[in-house]
Symmetry: C2
Subunit: 417 residues, 2 copies
Amino acid sequence: MHPKINGDRLWGSLMTLAEVGATTGGGVCRLALSDEDRLARDLFVRWCREAGCSIRIDAVGNIFARRTGCNNTRPPVMTGSHIDSQPNGGRFDGAYGVMAGLEVLRTLDEADIVTDAPIEVVVWTNEEGTRFAPSMMGSMAFAGLLEVQQVYQITDAQGHTFGAELERTGYRGEGLGGTPIGAYFEAHIEQGPVLEEACKTIGVVIGGQGQCWYDLVLTGQDAHAGSTPMARRRDALVAAAQIIQTVNRIGSSFPPGGCATVGHLSVHPNSRNVIPGCVQLSIEIRHPDDLKRKAMDMAVRAAVREAAATGRIEAALTQVLDQPATPFDARCVAAVREAAASEGHSHMDMISGAAHDAIAIARIAPTAMIFVPCAGGISHNETESATPHDLAAGCQVLMQAMLAASTAVTPGADGFS
Amino acid sequence: MHPKINGDRLWGSLMTLAEVGATTGGGVCRLALSDEDRLARDLFVRWCREAGCSIRIDAVGNIFARRTGCNNTRPPVMTGSHIDSQPNGGRFDGAYGVMAGLEVLRTLDEADIVTDAPIEVVVWTNEEGTRFAPSMMGSMAFAGLLEVQQVYQITDAQGHTFGAELERTGYRGEGLGGTPIGAYFEAHIEQGPVLEEACKTIGVVIGGQGQCWYDLVLTGQDAHAGSTPMARRRDALVAAAQIIQTVNRIGSSFPPGGCATVGHLSVHPNSRNVIPGCVQLSIEIRHPDDLKRKAMDMAVRAAVREAAATGRIEAALTQVLDQPATPFDARCVAAVREAAASEGHSHMDMISGAAHDAIAIARIAPTAMIFVPCAGGISHNETESATPHDLAAGCQVLMQAMLAASTAVTPGADGFS
């Protein structure tokens, strides 16, 4: 049994989907639960019904298209991603994982293959979190990490609630999670430059980074830039500069996989001829190894203390996120790696730097991800791009991994047992 | 002839003036040509008329109170400052120089002293530049650095023109500059911490700093903070941090008098988990010695080039101001120094870090300034404060310097010749 997915059909699905909410810059704008998101969801549902699937919608609007197997008491082998986008998003972020799942359904139909466990393709609601925060809302709620009644009350910038928009778009269903998943695979563009740079087609994603987020407020003394001698200054921005440089060095000091970033910074009073009295900034550190992340955390705290002491600055550091690393399931990861090898695709193990629905689902089900390269590592951008060849390769690997999980001969708690 | 100013009366004038536009925080709000500014001007005019002076208003609202001398063909010896304030200004910035001039008039009257050259006390219009930009508007126009018709068209945030507000408040007079000034002295709080730290009562101001202002745009590549390896980044904020630290070191490397500041900085897209792709910032350098300022300028340019090369960042540096240093007149400075010494006040030569009307007037007349300490160097702030002792000392020095200039026996083009 060695079916082949149809790369042209996959590309066609992606391009048709990209017409829904298409932007003039070549990207898409499909904010969660917007009219464009609804049209894209309607299209997905129609295509899956045409492929013979049954459709189920849960209480937060996650859509499950189910293809029955021989043994429908087994938990499903699931794949999917999201079809909402950033305001100036690309055509592949999320959409690829959903269209790859659809292509698997179509290929299995064409080849008359009946899997042992049922197969499900899922569209998770509001992965981007741009219109309604937080991100990964649908998969987080499914995994029991968000309460449905709280989710309903979340509002967008115009004051619309998630619950009302879910109702308006016709995607408020029943139930939420609680049923086991045999295995979950998610195909996605990398959203980073690693595969392209390494000239590899398939990223075998072995897990997600752990993260620490911090808010830092540096308070010195704003004063006249002309009449305050250098030695008398308590310049909060000079202290911030020292911290930014040290944070950057900390990121580079924990290879491979260490990242450290100051992304947000604001200066007060932010006037050309006033020494900055206060600076607020964000720090984030990431590492796939929680012990190394702990060492980075200690280095960040030391850097803040040192800059504060040097500049006679008060520093208030608040940790706002402490998220452990998410190792993926060894058997799911092995299934992806073996599929890539058997298909003859160059591949490498890697860590997911970005957050994905799979990171939430990994809390409750055996999970792995498949990355394919995206041009220049650019994503969340209208110019986001990937090649038909790489997209087809990732889809083929996805199908092979799912078949390995769904046809495992011994039914049990999950697809591989 | 050794008259003594009345420190209590000076303090009383200051406190009475501070009631006009008093804020709840203990400061004043007298924006230029506001009703509060008009009331303060009316008070000044009344006090000067009571002291026997004639009043003249020029085309931009500068007020000249003239006390005749023996030889009224000699150009006047002038003192003054401004009585407009910042929105949350203090009680002494500007007001001190005007009330000190008034106190000199009153003291000379009490002592029945007639100077050889006439004495004038001036209120310059809109020194702060908060409501109508630029700052030092009245003195700059007087010195021929601004055109009166252009000044009239300048609007505030509500769309009121300077000309209409000048008319409304009753301070639109005739003529502008063109008459010689024998010598100009301005007393002012230091607005910096130098005198307080050095435990000196009198700052003998020998000139104003030269300044260079720059705008800098750093362009890298915004990218995902989780999926972009450290070595691949083009982080504009990391480059900015390197520049901020180097600019700070440049300021410290040119003592005495060197200052270098990054006061304004903005980050794009300024999101916690996005590597900053663009940073805009201001740089300013100041030095009383134009050759050293030129060396600082070259060091700044080298720092920008180096940070751009290190971080693979595009840097666009634009110089927006190149203002040479303003050395004050040697004889006026000597008169201040000698007065401080003869009155037995501790004193030191210093540079004005802040801009003042005297910087504009120095272009057209022999000029010096007298600084007195202000608590903590804090100014442009409701908590701005100075001691009655220091204010009286500065006023006494002012009077002695003015007497030296106005009673010089050989009349000529200026007070000392």
